[in-house]
C-alpha cells in the first residue's frame, strides 16, 4: 500500500470516518489559496509565501509513519464492505447469495461501461452529455438493421461506426466551432433523441437475430457476457489512461489547458479524440445493451445519463482522489448497486434506486470537499 502520503493526509485520515477523500470539487478552495496574479507579480509577497509554504512539510518525516488505513483513498471499499456485511445480516436469505452477486455484477455492466467511456473526456476537462443519446441510437440502429435482415456483425459494426461518427461531430463542434462542450453535447443529445425516433419510427423493434440475443443473455460461469465485455473495456481504458502517454495528455489538458499547450500537448486533438472515444464506447455499449434486452425503443438512453455521471464523480473521490479514474469509478458503480439491491431486498420501495444514488453522490463529494479544505 502507498505509505508515503503527506502529513496533511495523515491527519485527515484520523478525523474522517466513512466516505472521505479529495474530490473533483476541491478546485474552488484551492484557487483561493493560490496567490492572485497581482500577488504573484510582487516578489515580496511571494517570497513570504515561499517561506511559510515550506513549513507544513518540515515535520513530515516523523509524522508520516502512521499505519495507513487509506481512509482517504479507499473509503469506498470500506463502505462497500460495510454494506455487504450489513445486508448479509439484514436480509440473510436473499442478499448473501452467489445468485444475487451475479445479478448485481450483470445488471451494472451497462452503467459501468458508459461511466468508463465518459472518464476520458472528463479527464480532458470536457463534458460529454450525449453518450446516453449515442447509446439509444446505437440500440436503434442494431434493431433496425437486424429486423431488416442484416447479420450480427455488420449491424453491430454499423452501430459502433455511427457512435464514432457522432463523436467526431461532437469533437468538430467543440474544437473547431469552439462551442462549450456542455452545450454542444447537450444539443447533440437532443438531436440524437430525434434520430432515435426517426430510426425506430417511434415503435418498439423486437425482431432481433436470435444468435445475437443469445450472446447477450447466455451466462458464462453464471454471469452474463456483458459483464466480461465491461471488464475488457475497463482494462483497455485503464491501460490507456495509466500506461500510455495519451493518459498524461488527457489529465494535463483537463488540469490546465494553456499549460498543456505550452508543454507541446496538442490539446485540441486530445479533446477531439476524447469525445470520439466516449461516443465510440457508448456505441459499443449500445450493441451490448441491445443483445441484453432484445428491444429497441425510443426511450432507451436518457435513463443512463445520471447514474453514469454519478458513478464517475463519486469514483473521483476514490483511489486517486481529485481525479476521475477507472478503478474508483468501478468501485462507485458497484458500491451504489450493492446498496440499492440490498435495500430493495429488504423491502424498500422502487424509488430507492434514485434516492440512494443521489444521496450517496452528494454526501460523498461533500465529505471529500470538506476534508480537502481541512488539509
Amino acid at each position: 500500500m502507498n505509505a508515503d502520503r503527506d502529513s496533511s493526509r495523515a491527519e485527515r485520515r484520523e478525523e474522517s470516518a466513512g466516505i472521505a477523500g479529495d474530490a473533483i470539487m476541491t478546485s474552488s478552495p484551492d484557487l483561493e489559496s493560490q496567490p492572485s496574479a497581482a500577488e504573484a507579480a510582487n516578489p515580496v509577497v511571494e517570497a513570504d509565501r515561499g517561506v511559510s509554504g515550506l513549513e507544513p512539510h518540515a515535520g513530515e518525516g516523523r509524522k508520516r509513519r502512521r499505519i495507513n488505513l487509506g481512509m482517504d483513498r479507499f473509503s469506498g471499499l470500506y463502505v462497500w464492505a460495510a454494506l455487504i456485511i450489513l445486508f448479509s445480516f439484514w436480509v440473510p436469505d436473499t442478499f448473501p447469495t452467489s445468485d444475487n452477486a451475479k445479478i448485481i455484477a450483470g445488471d451494472q455492466a451497462i452503467t459501468a461501461m458508459l461511466a468508463l467511456g465518459i472518464i476520458i473526456p472528463l479527464a480532458a476537462g470536457v463534458f460529454d452529455l450525449s453518450f446516453a443519446g449515442v447509446l439509444g441510437v446505437s440500440v436503434a440502429i442494431v434493431g433496425y438493421l437486424q429486423s431488416n435482415g442484416w447479420n450480427v456483425w455488420l449491424s453491430a459494426a454499423a452501430a459502433i461506426a455511427a457512435g464514432a461518427f457522432i463523436g467526431c461531430a461532437n469533437g468538430f463542434i467543440v474544437v473547431q466551432l469552439r462551442v462549450n462542450s456542455f452545450i454542444a453535447t447537450l444539443g447533440m443529445s437532443s438531436l440524437l433523441v430525434a434520430a432515435e425516433f426517426w430510426i425506430t419510427d417511434g415503435k418498439q423493434i423486437t425482431e432481433f437475430n436470435s444468435t445475437f440475443l443469445d450472446l447477450g443473455t447466455k451466462p458464462i460461469l453464471g454471469i452474463p457476457l456483458p459483464f466480461y465485455v465491461m471488464i475488457v473495456l475497463a482494462i483497455i481504458i485503464y491501460i490507456i489512461i495509466e500506461y500510455l502517454p495519451i493518459g498524461r495528455y488527457l489529465y494535463a489538458s483537463g488540469g490546465n489547458a494553456q499549460a498543456a499547450r505550452l508543454a507541446g500537448v496538442r490539446v485540441n486533438n486530445v479533446v477531439f479524440g476524447s469525445l470520439v472515444a466516449s461516443a465510440f464506447t457508448a456505441g459499443v455499449t449500445g450493441v451490448v445493451l441491445a443483445a441484453r434486452i432484445g428491444t429497441a425503443s425510443p426511450e432507451i438512453g436518457p435513463s443512463y445519463l445520471l447514474p453514469a455521471f454519478s458513478a464517475v464523480f463519486l469514483g473521483s473521490t476514490q483511489i486517486k482522489p481529485g481525479r476521475v479514474n477507472v478503478i474508483g469509478t468501478l468501485v462507485a458503480v458497484y458500491l451504489l448497486a450493492t446498496g440499492v439491491k440490498g435495500l430493495q431486498l429488504a423491502g424498500a420501495p422502487s424509488y430507492i434506486n434514485d434516492l440512494f444514488n443521489g444521496a450517496a453522490l452528494i454526501i460523498a463529494v461533500a465529505l471529500a470537499a470538506r476534508s480537502a479544505r481541512r488539509a
Binding site: D4, D6, T26, S27, D30, Q34, P35, A37, A38, E39, A40, A41, N42, P43, V44, V45, E46, A47, D48, R49, G50, V51, G53, L54, P56, H57, I239, E242, Y243, L244, P245, G247, R248, Y249, Y251, A252, G255, N256, Q258, A259, A260, R261, L262, A263, G264, V265, R266, G322, R323
Partner: protein
Amino acid sequence: MPETPALQIRGLSKTFTGQRALIDLDLELQPGEIRALVGQNGCGKSTMIKVLAGYHDPDPGAEVFVDGEPLALGVAGAGDHAGLRFVHQDLGLVPTLDALDNLAMGHGYERNRLGLISWRREARLTRKTLRDLGYDIDVRQPTGHLVISERTAIALARALSPRSTPPRVLVLDEPTANLPAAEIERLFGVVRSVRDRGVSVLFVSHHIDEVFTLCDNVTVLRDGRHIITRPVEGLDEDALIALMIGRKLEQFDMPESASETHGETVLQVRGLRTGVLQGVDLELQAGEVIGIAGITGSGREEIALALFGGVPRQGEVRVAGKLVQPYRPDKAVSAGLGLVPAERHANAAFMESTLRENVSIVSPQDFLRRGLLNRRRETSVVRSWLEKLRVKPPEPERLLATLSGGNQQKVMLARWMRQKPAVLVLDEPTQGVDVGAKADIHTLVEEAAAEGAAVLVVSTDHGELTRLAERVLVLRGGRFADELRRPHIDPDRITAATIGAGQGAAA
C-alpha cells in the same frame, strides 16, 4: 498658508515579512495638481497604490487624509467613498459586460418608478459621461470587444463618476502602457481637463517623457523611500533618471572583452511580428545567454510566447537552420525549443498533478518500455532532476500545489532541462521566487548554457539580466532599440535604455 491638500500621506510604512517595501513615506498632493510618481521596479510604487486602494494593510502609525478627512486604512472601498479613485493598470473592467454595466457597477443603475432598471436613461447617461470625456463608444458592446483606448476611457469614466462623493484624487497606474501614441495624447487631454475641474492626479509611469509632457511636479521613490518631490520644470531626463537610480549614470570605459567563443548559430529569427512586436531580428549561438529587456508594452511580454508559438506570429524562426512552424508549440518542442513561460500558474503549472507528471509531460514517451509507460524508470529520472535542481522536497509523488513558489518554478525548469533543448527561452524565470531559489535558478541557467544550450532570458529584473546575459537586447515600441554588451551591462544602464533615455548607456 497653503490650502488643504487633496491627499496627504504621513509616515506610511509597509513591511512584508522582513522586507520593507515602504519606509516612512510622506506625500502631499495639492488640489488641481498633476503629480508624477516615478521609480524603478520594486521601489514601492505599486505597494503604495495598493495601500491607498485598501488592498494592503500598512504598518501601524500611518495616516492618510483625503481632503483633510482621515481615511480608514486597509479597508477596500474606503478610499472610493472619500473621493480617492483609481484606474489600475489592468483597468479592472469585466470584459463580458458592456460599458453601461461596467459603469453602473460603480454607482448603481438608474431606476424607474417601479424600481426597475431604466435601460434607456442609463444608456443615455453612460453615453453622455463618455462623450464628456471626448469618447464616442458603443455602450452596449461588451468591453472585451473594444479597443484598448476605449476600454481605458471607460475605466477612466468609471473612476470619475460622482457616486456618493465627487472624485477628489485620481490615481492613474501606468495608463499608457498599451496605448498607441495618438491615444496617449488624447488621454492626456482628458487628464488635463479633469485637473482643470479641480481633481488632483497622481500619475504613475515608467515613461519618463510622459512625465515631462503631462505633469506639474514629480515625486521619486527609491527602495521604498521618498527621495524628492519637486517641479518638473528645471529637470531634464538624465537628471530625473539619476534621481531614480540614485546616482549619475556612469560611463565605464573598460576595454571590450575579448569576444567569447560560442558554438554555431542555433536560433535565427527574422522579422518576428505579433501584437506590439514589429519585425524583430535575433541570432543566438550555442552556449550563449542573451537577455531581453523592455518596459510594459514594449513587446517584452510577447516575444517569448511568439518565438515558441504560444501566440500567432509572422516572420521566420529557425532552429539549427530549420524553419519552425508558427503557432505550434509541439513543433517548437520537436525542433529543440523549450519555454519556461511567465505566470507559472496560468501557463505552466499543473497544480493538482504530481511533480513526476509535471516534469515528464513534455515527452512521457521517453519512459515507454514495450509500449507501456515504465513508472519506476520515470520516477527515478524525475527524482534525479529534482535533486539536481535542489527542489525541496525532491519527492516525485508530491502534488505540485504543496510546494513553495520558488520550488514550483524549479520544477518547471526541470521539465525543460530534462529535454535538453537547443534553445531555452525563459520568460521572467524568477518572478515571484524567493531569494535563495532565485540564486539557484541563475546557477542552473548558467549550467545549461555551459552544456551547450542557447539561452534567452526575458526579464523585468535588470539585476538578473546583468547577472546572466552577455548581451542585453532592449525592446522599445516593438523593436530592438538598443543592445548592451558586457562589460557595459548594469541594471541602471538597462533601466535607462528601456525608457529610452540616457543614450550614452548604449555605449
